[in-house]
């Protein structure tokens, strides 16, 4: 319960920071460019502050509940969310996110052709606990499908990876 509220508070603060950024930066644009972002940003900011107060001050929340409309403001914890929190520790969540980041970095460095089979092989072996033969078969089949469908059939220029000469311009 405590961790749930703590997590919700962090997420709400992140949203608040983003909304503040939009509103503050938005004021710097011309009238036609700023009216909509600022017009949406300010009410969202106010509501986010209400949601944040609701996380940190449950007592205050109940009184504002009565004032603002009860069930609509109440921070109710769905049962399945609570279960999920109990069942899956943060380290497990981070591990899964780590797998995603790893694949993202892998594609950036060596491209799809190399990352797809290696990633599937390692994930299936380490997380799925399957034997090497099954993992290899799955990895190769998926690799063949992806290369066959996207690169050969759809003529997509698959990302080659920085090590093989690709560039990643962002700014």
């Amino acid at each position: 319960m405590g961790r749930m509220l703590e997590g919700r508070a962090i997420l709400t603060i992140l949203m608040l920071v983003f909304e503040l950024y939009v509103v503050v930066v938005g004021f710097g644009y011309g009238p036609n460019s700023r009216i909509f972002p600022v017009g949406i940003g300010i009410p969202t900011l106010v509501l986010t502050i209400v949601a944040l107060v609701a996380v940190w001050r449950p007592g205050l929340l109940r009184s504002s509940d009565a004032r603002l409309g009860g069930s609509s403001i109440a921070v109710e914890l769905p049962a399945d969310e609570e279960r999920e929190n109990v069942s899956y520790p943060t380290v497990r969540v981070l591990r899964m996110i780590g797998w995603l980041v790893l694949s993202f970095v892998g594609i950036a460095l060596v491209g799809f052709r190399v990352t797809v089979p290696i990633y599937i092989l390692l994930f299936a072996r380490l997380e799925g606990r399957a034997n090497w033969l099954v993992c290899t078969l799955i990895a190769l089949s998926c690799w063949a499908f992806i290369i066959g469908y996207f690169e050969l059939f759809m003529q997509t220029q698959m990302f080659q990876g920085i090590f093989f000469g690709a560039t990643l311009p962002l700014f």
Binding site: M4, T12, M15, F18, Y21, G26, Y29, G30, N32, S33, I35, F36, P37, I40, G41, P43, T44, L47, A51, A54, A66, G69, G70, S71, S72, A74, E76, E81, E84, N85, S87, Y88, R92, V93, L100, V101, S103, F104, I107, F112, V116, Y119, I120, F123, A124, E127, G128, R129, A130, I138, C142, I146, Y149, F150, F153, M154, T156, F159, A166, L170
Partner: protein, 496 residues
């Protein structure tokens, strides 16, 4: 209207379109059978694969996936007591009880028949709503379009989240994210953190959608190492039991009609899907049922549960196609698919692309009927799918999602957007925020800004334009009513 219908029917007669509908139905069924996955995740992963298809084939593909997963979910609910999708939550009560009594074939047949018929009724209501929606959309100008988006967001925020503040916060954040990049009216780069190579064009819809709906589920499912279910002996099915069950469905016309009405109405309400209609229709039927076995293996309970959740899909399509307000998460992904294929969704869709509306109608119908037929043919095999360890399924899904996100524009950073939106989607769900208002806010942000600025341009800067037009005023008042409804309800409850 009939020209559009003819185009859709003509496409349906082509072998490759039939093949793609069958493929979509199978994908939807498999996704429905796998607990944790459903039509939304299947559509999100399949979305980039439609890039190489023509527009009509792609929409047939996505529509058939949308309508086939719900019956897939009922197979595991009936055979192994695990609802494949949230929309099958109440199916387990009577379905699994019948399986334990050795009547799995009868239960599956009732479920298949009720699903197919419920789905057909939902689509029939959608067809019936087309002329009314067409007339209504003709009355829409920019002020009405903006007010409609506002009403849609407020309704979704309240209906989905059950907490209008959190719902509006996520919808607002989604809308603000959609404003990143160049303004559609002034061309000014906004909130792009100085990125002139990527963010100038904004956050792309497809990578964002498949991240929030597809990758977030991957993270959630990745929490469990092994298989979703350990399945023992799967009950055998006999043709005689299947025929008996199919006929038995027609013995509960009142329950069927009542449940499909509930399903369609819940579907029309933006943002609320089969999981709500399933429970609501089941509870309503429990009030009227005289069957002492209700909840313990009653055919009537199965009819209520399975006709309502499938009827919801047709209802979901009404606000999506008529007004561009997605009726559910699946319809939000379908909207993403339409945008990907160059079809702008909004009140103008029925004016400009009537053939797309008919493609969705026929795609949903075909998916509904085919999923029931295929589902019955391969139930034993389908029920074994949840025994496949998630550790083997997930890396394939991750790679398909990443390749799909990249393939749309061949831009590497789209994969980064997918990762970020997937992680964000996971934490939104984990900490009690619904991702649906978030996504719908994101999808509608651009068109809302355009309509807003066009309105001000017409009125030479006067915001009174939103109140001077009767329809716009009506929509505004409806938004206010939805917004203050929780306040009034709370007061009434308190005073009582």
């Amino acid at each position: 209207m009939f020209e559009g219908m003819a185009t859709a029917i003509l496409a349906l007669s082509q072998p490759h379109v039939i093949g793609i509908i069958i493929l979509g139905t199978i994908i939807g069924l498999v996704a429905g059978v796998l607990p944790g996955l459903g039509n939304v995740q299947a559509m999100a992963v399949a979305l980039p694969f439609t890039f190489g298809m023509d527009r009509i084939t792609a929409i047939y593909f996505l529509s058939s996936i949308a309508s086939s997963a719900t019956f897939g979910g009922s197979i595991t609910a009936i055979l192994i007591n695990i609802p494949g999708t949230p929309a099958n939550a109440t199916t387990v009560f009577d379905g699994y009880a019948m399986t334990k009594r050795g009547e799995a074939d009868r239960a599956l047949a009732i479920s298949a028949t009720a699903s197919a018929l419920g789905g057909l009724v939902g689509v029939a209501v959608l067809v019936g709503a087309i002329p009314i929606a067409q007339w209504m959309t003709l009355q829409f100008g920019p002020p009405e379009t903006f007010m409609l988006v506002l009403l849609g967001l407020v309704t979704i925020a309240y209906a989905v989240q059950g907490n209008i503040v959190l719902g509006l916060v996520t919808a607002g954040v989604g809308m603000l994210i959609s404003l990143i990049g160049n303004s559609p009216v002034t061309g000014v780069y906004r909130f792009s953190l100085g990125s002139k190579q990527y963010l100038w064009d904004g956050i792309q819809q497809v990578p964002f959608l498949i991240g929030v709906f597809g990758l977030s589920e991957v993270i959630r499912c990745g929490m469990q190492r092994g298989a979703v279910a350990q399945v023992g002996e799967i009950a055998r099915t006999k043709l005689s039991g299947i025929l008996r069950g199919a006929v038995e469905t027609f013995r509960y016309p009142y329950t069927f009609v009542q449940s499909t009405i509930v399903g369609v109405i819940v579907g029309i309400a933006p943002g609320v899907g089969g999981s709500v209609s399933n429970v609501l229709a089941y509870a309503l039927a429990a009030q009227t049922s005289k069957d002492p076995m209700y909840g313990k293996g009653s055919a009537e309970g199965l009819v209520a549960a399975e006709s309502s959740n499938n009827a919801t899909i047709g209802g979901d399509a009404i606000p999506t196609l008529a007004f561009g307000i997605p009726g559910s998460a699946a319809m939000a992904v379908l909207m993403g698919g339409l945008t990907l294929h160059g079809v702008a969704v909004g009140p103008w869709l029925m004016k400009e692309h009537m053939e797309i509306v008919w493609v969705v109608v026929f795609g949903l119908t075909a998916g509904n009927v085919l999923s029931s037929v295929f589902g019955l043919l391969v139930t034993r095999w389908m029920a074994r799918l949840p025994t496949v360890p998630m550790g083997l399924v997930l890396p394939i899904v991750v790679m398909l999602v990443f390749v799909g996100a990249f393939a749309v524009r061949e831009n590497f950073w789209d994969i980064g957007v997918t990762v970020c939106s997937g992680v964000l989607g996971y934490f939104l769900i984990r900490y009690g925020f619904s991702p649906l208002p978030f996504i719908i806010g994101f999808l509608l942000g651009d068109s809302a800004e355009l309509a807003f600025l066009q309105s001000l341009h017409i009125s030479q800067g006067s915001p009174l334009i939103f109140l001077n037009h009767p329809l716009s005023l009506g929509l505004f008042l409806a938004s206010v009513a939805v917004g203050i409804y929780p306040v009034l309800r709370s007061r009434v409850i308190k005073e009582a």
